[in-house]
């Protein structure tokens, strides 16, 4: 029986990435992660700080995709203040990744050689600063061997191998708590900090995940199914946080 969508499973998986964070700034980027952050605060992480997507911290359960929704503003948070929060170590960001490798190196800058890119994308944005200063998780809506690659073309966010080479002092704030994709959830809780399959979403097989991944994943015995949304979570997602179903627009199926 499945009375919830894959998008809703992904929202819950993103929410769970913030479990245990307490009173820090959760900065989920993108529709599904933003819903996840807001769901986490509405349920098991009530002290998280969350933005309206721009320069304000809002304390109410703000719906996404409703431009005129009333905001209860807690604090002013322009971009420069967000950067300072990042450097001070009280933020957990969930970014996207055009490429990610087995150590969690992320690329959002460009595809192809750095000095002659085939595709120029966004740039480094805040990825180097995020990954050296704070926990950084990732959301990948299109899990494929083109995204989960053996080696990323450009290291924007640093993975565990790069952090390891920097040493325990320089990299003491580096951590990648979670990767959530449309197929499953992943972490780096392995001896060499290489990516491990943590759970598969309902309806997805381990073999499908392996086939869609361009490097060798750590596969534990008996991979569990990702947590299904409970009734309270479904109500919050559907009626409060995303009444216009932006989650399905970003992520059909």
């Amino acid at each position: 029986m499945s009375d919830f969508s894959r998008a809703e499973v992904c929202v819950v998986a993103c929410a769970d990435a913030f479990r245990g964070d307490g009173e820090i700034v959760a900065n989920p980027i993108g529709t599904i992660p933003m819903l996840g952050g807001r769901l986490a605060r509405a349920t098991f992480e009530p002290d998280l700080l969350l933005t309206d997507g721009e320069a304000l911290f809002i304390s109410n359960d703000l719906p996404i995709g409703v431009p005129d929704a009333p905001k209860v503003i807690e604090a002013w948070n322009p971009y420069r203040m967000m950067l300072e929060i990042t450097w001070s170590g009280c933020r957990h960001v969930m970014m996207g990744a055009t490429q990610i490798d087995r150590f969690g190196n992320q690329n959002i800058a460009s595809i192809g050689p750095l000095d002659a890119p085939k595709v120029q994308m966004l740039g480094f944005r805040g990825a180097p600063g995020n990954t050296i200063n704070d926990p950084t998780s990732y959301w990948v809506p299109n899990h494929s061997p083109k995204v989960f690659v053996e080696h990323v073309d450009v290291v924007t966010g640093i993975g565990y191998d790069r952090a390891g080479k920097l040493g325990s002092q320089a990299a003491r704030f580096h951590r990648i708590p979670r990767v959530v994709s449309n197929l499953g959830t992943f972490d780096f809780e392995t001896p060499a900090h290489t990516m491990r399959l943590r759970s598969v979403h309902p309806g997805v097989t381990v073999d499908e995940v392996v086939a869609a991944t361009g490097f060798e994943l750590q596969i534990p015995d008996g991979v569990p199914e990702s947590r299904a949304p409970n009734a309270e979570e479904l109500l919050l997602i559907r009626d409060v946080l995303d009444p216009n179903d932006m989650r399905t627009k970003e992520f059909p199926g």
Partner: protein, 283 residues
């Protein structure tokens, strides 16, 4: 009392080939587009553009004004990738120096404070060192001995920002929520230009917004250009939001040289900002 009122063309007359030019705003938000268009139709060339990049970067690349872009991102926000910028990079018509948003911020702050760098952890272990070949590390002279990145000062020959209100003496007022890097760009630059939606009397500022919105005192500006809808088609909240339909038209102009020529003839190669406003139906 100095009256700093000027036109877009007055600003362009202060610029020269090869300059390093900081442009305020963020992505497709609060960009000084009336001045950017004036630069695009000028005979300036070989500019180094420093920007939290949006259509300012793309338009100047398309117009052939740019030798180098210094950036942490270039985006149209609702259209994630800037098509004219992409085309310029992928065809290797321009050089790039890449930053993290944080080293960009610290670099402007260092320039504003007249120090050569500011220390940070940002960039350690990443390919920022390949994308910004001038980047160096520095060892802490204190007992921790930690190796840090020395984010280099980003010194600007000129800066151009667009804000909501100003007065004729060159004070500026942000009514939008986020100042982005605008005040820092003015502090980091030798020649400082500000366009505003509206010039008001100094005594009228507090009727527009709270005292905390008066973040650009006049010693930071050399000229003020009154340009209603000066940020169009980017947003300039609370005065107006982004013109998404026009932005899509702009993005589509990257599809072919003919499409760009048509866009340029219709919206860039005009006598002045008033003619632009008439062309887009805002006058």
């Amino acid at each position: 009392m100095t009256d700093k009122r000027a036109t877009e063309d007055d600003v362009v007359a202060e610029l020269h080939d090869g300059m390093t030019l900081g442009i305020g705003g963020w992505g497709s938000r609060r960009k000084p587009m009336s001045v950017v268009r004036a630069i695009a139709r000028s005979d300036l060339s070989d500019l180094t553009v420093v920007s939290c990049g949006g259509p300012d970067v793309g338009l100047l690349c398309a117009a052939g004004k740019v030798a180098k872009v210094v950036f942490a991102f270039v985006s149209l926000d609702s259209i994630p990738l800037e098509p004219h910028f992409r085309a310029a990079v992928e065809s290797r018509r321009i050089a790039t120096v890449q930053h993290d948003e944080g080293t960009f911020y610290l670099g402007l702050q260092a320039a504003a404070w007249r120090v050569p760098f500011l220390p940070t952890r940002i960039g350690l272990g990443s390919d920022l060192f390949r994308a910004h070949p001038g980047l160096r590390t520095i060892r802490s002279p204190y007992d921790d001995g930690e190796e840090l990145v020395a984010a280099p000062a980003i010194v600007l020959d000129a800066a151009i920002v667009h804000v909501n209100r100003g007065d004729q003496r060159g004070n500026g007022q942000f009514l939008s929520v986020d100042p982005y890097m605008d005040d820092l760009m003015l502090r980091a630059a030798t020649k400082r230009f500000m366009s505003v939606e509206q010039i008001v009397g100094t005594e009228d500022f507090l009727a527009e917004g709270p005292v905390e919105s008066l973040r650009l005192p006049r010693h930071l500006t050399d000229a003020v250009v009154e340009a209603p809808y000066g940020a169009h088609f980017t947003s300039c909240a609370p005065d107006y939001e982004r013109d998404e339909a026009f932005q899509r038209q702009y993005a589509a102009s990257a599809k072919s040289p003919e499409a760009w020529d048509a866009f340029r003839a219709k919206y860039v190669d005009l006598p002045n900002h008033a003619a632009y406003l008439a062309q887009v139906g805002l006058s």
